[in-house]
Symmetry: C2
Subunit: 258 residues, 2 copies
Amino acid sequence: MISDQDIIGRVLYEDADHKFIWLGSERKYKKGLVQTMQYLIIDRGRGILLDPGGVHLFSRVVASLSRYISIDNIDYIFFSHQDPDVSSGIALWLGVTKAKVYISKLWTRFIPHFGIVDTNRVIGIEDRGGSLTLPSGTELKFVPSHFMHSPGQFGAWDPRSRILFTGDIGAAVFHESDETVFVDDFEQHIPLIVGFHSRYIANNAVARKWCGMVEKLNPDMIAPQHGAVYRGKTVKQFLDWLSNLRCGTDIVDAIFGS
Amino acid sequence: MISDQDIIGRVLYEDADHKFIWLGSERKYKKGLVQTMQYLIIDRGRGILLDPGGVHLFSRVVASLSRYISIDNIDYIFFSHQDPDVSSGIALWLGVTKAKVYISKLWTRFIPHFGIVDTNRVIGIEDRGGSLTLPSGTELKFVPSHFMHSPGQFGAWDPRSRILFTGDIGAAVFHESDETVFVDDFEQHIPLIVGFHSRYIANNAVARKWCGMVEKLNPDMIAPQHGAVYRGKTVKQFLDWLSNLRCGTDIVDAIFGS
């Protein structure tokens, strides 16, 4: 269960120059709406928001981040992909910040459909990935995650905190009252992740490729946009499970009903 | 080139009870924005809108449809998938109509993130498809089109006009001034469609499955959400081409750059 304290967020990593912050839960908004998690990296006082979310959450996320940083110090916003729960608030965010936006180049011509968007502030990430050098010199890396599920999707690897933000990958769907911040027992977590990953991830071939890349990074935590954060041994357990999952077009006849 | 007449739309099929209407081009909105096409079916005076589009286009699409029907007679809105150019205007559309919305059940918990959405008016389509009986008795069928590109995507098959609305499938990206309403020379059209289909469609296996389903329907026209409408022999030419395309995870190493 999410405690009252966790409504306001939690610092997942901290050193003198650098923080990786989970911006808290949204308990009161539950009914009929998929739950989302937002993250904020602060590096030498400058901020990068990760998947700050849709129109619906804007006021809560602004309030939450204000506990950690002034909105004027948000320099960048990273969107893992184009889904409404990830990026539909873009016009609002561009309005209240001077931030530039990073998103897959596959979506740079689509996101202006969310509303009034200054396309000069939107930077398209090439398919093979890219990086962003933070004030401390730490290089935030954009990790290709295409077709998991979005055809143009990236994770963000922060080598200083050793946290990999994965967007939808690792997403869990909790019941009303059993949310937790971290995954501590992977076997118990499987029922909460198997439905999403089987149905939305394009197939095992791409899942296996992605898991191979992520194993080389050897993250301390995997932080998805829905569900709970993997840490300790559950990181490797999740990667082992996902790299063996039959999903998407592997089971296309079952999905299409024919 | 799109003529001035085509800015206001074109009736693609018409009989005493039933019309299938393309709602016109959006020439003046080009820069930095993917072009989209909206369609309206009118059956015994009642309307169904197909992919009416994002916030950005709302005023133009309302104006366009008002030439054909009163907004009060729009009973249903069909969204092929969750992308911003397709469905980010949902809160606006629910505000000005009494329409119910059909979309894949994969997205019913995501689209409220676009804004204030009455989820009681959103009907989730099961993966295997479904149908909607129109006032004339014609049955509009929801055709499974998952992973092309969205993991939860449907086309809409209108057996009376014999037009298949496909969402993103068949999408073309035109240069500034060479838009046409119909595809009349398929070989010349390939350079405008190969980039999108190779990169966004999940793989050949699912493309081939979809083409087999569509060949059985034997449509007179294939009407996508971007580009131009296939008719006559270009329908079969497009299906033959797509069923042989290597795409998405078939070329995963090239896309991931490794």
